[in-house]
Amino acid sequence: MSQIETLGILEEIQALVSDKLQVVSYKWLSRNFLVSSNVAKRLLAEFVEKHGSGLEVVYSLSGWLKNSPSNYHIQLVTGPKLSEAKQVYDGNCRVHVYSVQACIPKDLAALWNTEFIQAEELFKQPTSVDNCLRDNRFCGISNSFVKRNVDGTPAKVATAQPNSVGISGLSIHNSAQFSAPLPSQQNKVQQSSSKVAQKPPIVVKGIKSDSISGGVHDLATKPSADKEKNTSFPSNKKKGQNDKGSTGNGGSLANFWDRASAKPKTCSAPADNIDSIQNSNDAQISACEAVEHENSDIDAQEVNFGRASNSEGNRKRRVVLDLSDEDEYEDAVNLASPDPPKRKSFLGSIQNSKTSVPERPDVDKPDKDEVTVKEERTANREPNRSLGEETSLGSKSTNGKNSSSVKLESQLPETDLKKDKVTDASPNSPKRRKVLKTRIDDRGREVTEVVWEGEETEVKKVESDVPKKAGSGATNATTNTVANTNSRYAVGTTAPSNPGVKTGNKKAGNAKDPKQGNILSFFKKV
């Protein structure tokens, strides 16, 4: 440091200490004047030499004590007591100036205050700023393996790293290796951020992946995945399935709730994510998402769809997913429209539902997870709550929209189980087809229903159970030609009407409050 600068700083210190009566510690000095701590100490020492009279100086002593076993002791002493404090130390103890102030405060913690206020200021700066507090640049020891995730999401902490690269298991690559993937990631980030406005970024990662590759990519793409993302990102911890063709549309969000495929795939999803990140240009959004969190964190994964939902109108719910808690999962209601392939699968399963109508266990009681397939819903309907929720795929509307997936997702702890059963059931569905019928029911609402027209009939009893949480209604037992399958109204369904199956189709002009059950659902319809 040039003489002039030194002098300038010394004068400033003089002003601060004498006039403003501030405690000037070496760390405060280093952060304020952007010099390293060692330099700051030298400056303070010079200051004390030149202008130290009349001011109180606090020295820091460190060394091994004379006691045995010897402790390493770090001590702060004021000027007058320095020499006697040195006696306690075995051999040479290191001394340097800790701080200079006009007078020693009564409460020694006040020595710390100014420095802390400065630290707090630095701390409060936006997270994207890499200031001297955050990267510890003025200390005497450098650690190149510390990486900070600047976009505010917690950096992945890679735990069990069986073949870690001999580093502290955390940051795996140094910057040299980043440079290659970086540009490409950068591009992806650019593109994705522009897409973000239109479509919600789709959650891609499985959560608990401790794969090293995950960690690698996480770190590799971290620097790029930042500032553009700050504004429009849903929060970090997400669980989802990487739709392979994930284009960030509603379809993949629906896949999100498709637990049938999501669950077994979540483990593979991260691995897939990694590949797809690298390869597909499509999955930029997912790429960026995948960057943030391969979080081996175990806390409840909060999916903040707030931002996403703002950009896409139909998402109204905030979904909180707790991996371990199936109950909550079931509460997730998919209001999105599932994409066509899914619909078809629903349809397919609907077709089969005639002969194989699985009984869904009651959502409220996830422990009763037997899913039995019944050929016909005949009279033995025990007043058992778990049976009360009988829903069938047949009750889904062909429009496919939310309702079908709603019912399925919200009720089935094991969607795949159901699906398996459905598909396992004999495909000999009798000849019937689904027909959309619109009519006005007794309460004056327009109801669009899916009605089976065919030969076989099913006899159902009226379910007079207490409405379930989403206001399920009862079903009818009819003996007419149209099959009647039980419908559970997850959201906004109408009164059961005669032949038929309810749709939960809100959009069909159902004026009812989705949460309310229909009181008439308790009564049989003729």
Binding site: M1, S36, S62, L76, E115, R134, N136, A155, A158, G169
Partner: protein, 399 residues
């Protein structure tokens, strides 16, 4: 900005491996089960182990269950110890007497000279007599093998005891010849009136390499890891009485965390850091305590060096295994048994191969159904406990 005339020192690095999966409870499902299952799992594991050790100990004696005991017949029985304590606080006391204000000091030791031990397995229990087994040393929940015979009074007279002993330690040749240091800190109690932030700041400065001259910074560069062993914050209980807080009080709730976060940011920016929850931290009460939520540390959680860990915490650094707790297990042992110093308790837990034998009896514990996560399978190289009154250390050599 001046370029230092010397090069900056490089901090040493070491590989880190976390072994905390055993202590995580996210996968557990609570179905209203009680604690019998965790005791059964413990008995089962330990009994298998003890059965394998018995032939080396006394091979000539038969092993039988409690129900198969015959009077006068010398045999070996294996089971869980239960210590009947006269002074042990019982929940029913709250209903029989008037409620007194909970004492702020730590409750004293509940031992009494009339305490006696009972051995229990699935078939039954038998009261233990004899002088070999001292009730002041043992606590409820320890699984041992006993050699003795049944007396006419129906008690079991103990002649010899076999504990599981030190678990096997994996042989690990030391790879590097250089010294590396791990720092353990506990009881920071930020937010309490007795904590001195200057002291913690000095520590942070020393570890991060600000303080001292180059030689001292050289020492600090050898520190590779920092573990904060619980009780990092202390929130005054007046704020936690369940009433709605005024907004100024709400800031009092969060200030300790902000302060801690700033300090942890300074640390995390230079070396790997583990933070464990303690009894006064905002984590669950029952062991194993789950990691402190990362949202409490918005600044420091962004670093890849920051790690929030369970209590108990087990990890490996450069293949050296570390295991330890924030002190609740040892504190509980202190209440229900006695020893010369805390290190004796630690040693006992190692010999019993169980981190917290008093859980779930007097120590809060999650009702695991299929395992007991506190069993120690492999002996750690460093076994630590935090939040004790003073610092002590001992080197234990097993055979």
């Amino acid at each position: 900005m001046e370029v230092d005339s010397q090069e900056q020192l490089q901090r040493k690095q070491s590989t880190y491996l976390s072994l905390d999966e055993n202590f995580e409870i996210q996968k557990e499902v609570y179905r209203g089960q009680q604690y019998s299952q965790i005791y059964f799992a413990r008995l089962h594991m330990m009994r298998t182990l003890l059965y394998s050790l018995v032939p080396n100990w006394k091979s000539h004696l038969p092993v039988c269950t409690v129900l198969e005991l015959e009077e006068g017949k010398e045999c070996i029985i294996v089971g869980t110890l239960y210590k009947h304590m006269k002074l042990k606080p019982c929940i029913l006391d709250e209903y029989s007497k008037e409620r007194s204000v909970a004492p702020l000091i730590k409750p004293h030791n509940f031992m009494h000279q009339d305490d006696y031990l009972v051995l229990e397995d699935e078939s039954g229990r038998v009261k233990l007599g004899g002088t070999k087994l001292s009730p002041s040393v043992y606590v409820t929940g320890v699984v041992v093998a006993l050699h003795g015979k049944e007396t006419s009074a129906g008690a079991f007279f103990v002649e010899d005891v076999l504990e599981a002993g030190l678990p096997p330690q994996i042989e690990r040749p030391l790879k590097s010849r250089e010294d590396k240091y791990v720092v353990f800190v506990s009881g920071l109690s930020i937010g309490s009136s007795s904590s001195n932030p200057l002291q913690f700041q000095l520590l942070v400065d020393h570890i991060t390499g600000h303080l001292g001259d180059e030689e001292e910074q050289g020492f600090a560069a050898e520190i590779v890891h920092l573990v904060i062993v619980g009780n990092s914050v202390e929130i005054s209980h007046g704020l936690l009485n369940g009433q709605n807080l005024a907004s100024k009080d709400q800031s009092r709730l969060s200030e300790p965390f902000k302060e801690l976060d700033i300090l942890l940011t300074q640390i995390a920016a230079s070396l790997p850091l583990d933070i464990m929850p303690g009894s006064s931290d905002p984590a669950n009460f029952a062991l194993p305590q789950q990691p402190l939520n990362r949202c409490l540390f918005p600044g420091s959680a962004t670093y890849n060096t920051f790690r929030s860990c369970t209590n108990p915490h087990c990890f490996e650094l450069d293949s050296i295994r570390f295991l330890g707790t924030s002190g609740q297990n040892i504190d509980d042992l202190t209440k229900y048994s006695e020893a010369k110093d805390k290190l004796d308790f630690l040693e006992r837990t190692l010999r019993w191969r169980h981190l917290a034998p008093t859980a779930p009896n007097t120590l809060g514990c999650y009702p695991f159904t299929d395992r007991d996560p506190f069993l120690i399978d492999s002996c750690p190289d460093v076994y630590f406990v935090g939040n004790q009154e003073k610092y002590e250390t001992r080197l234990l050599k097993g055979c």
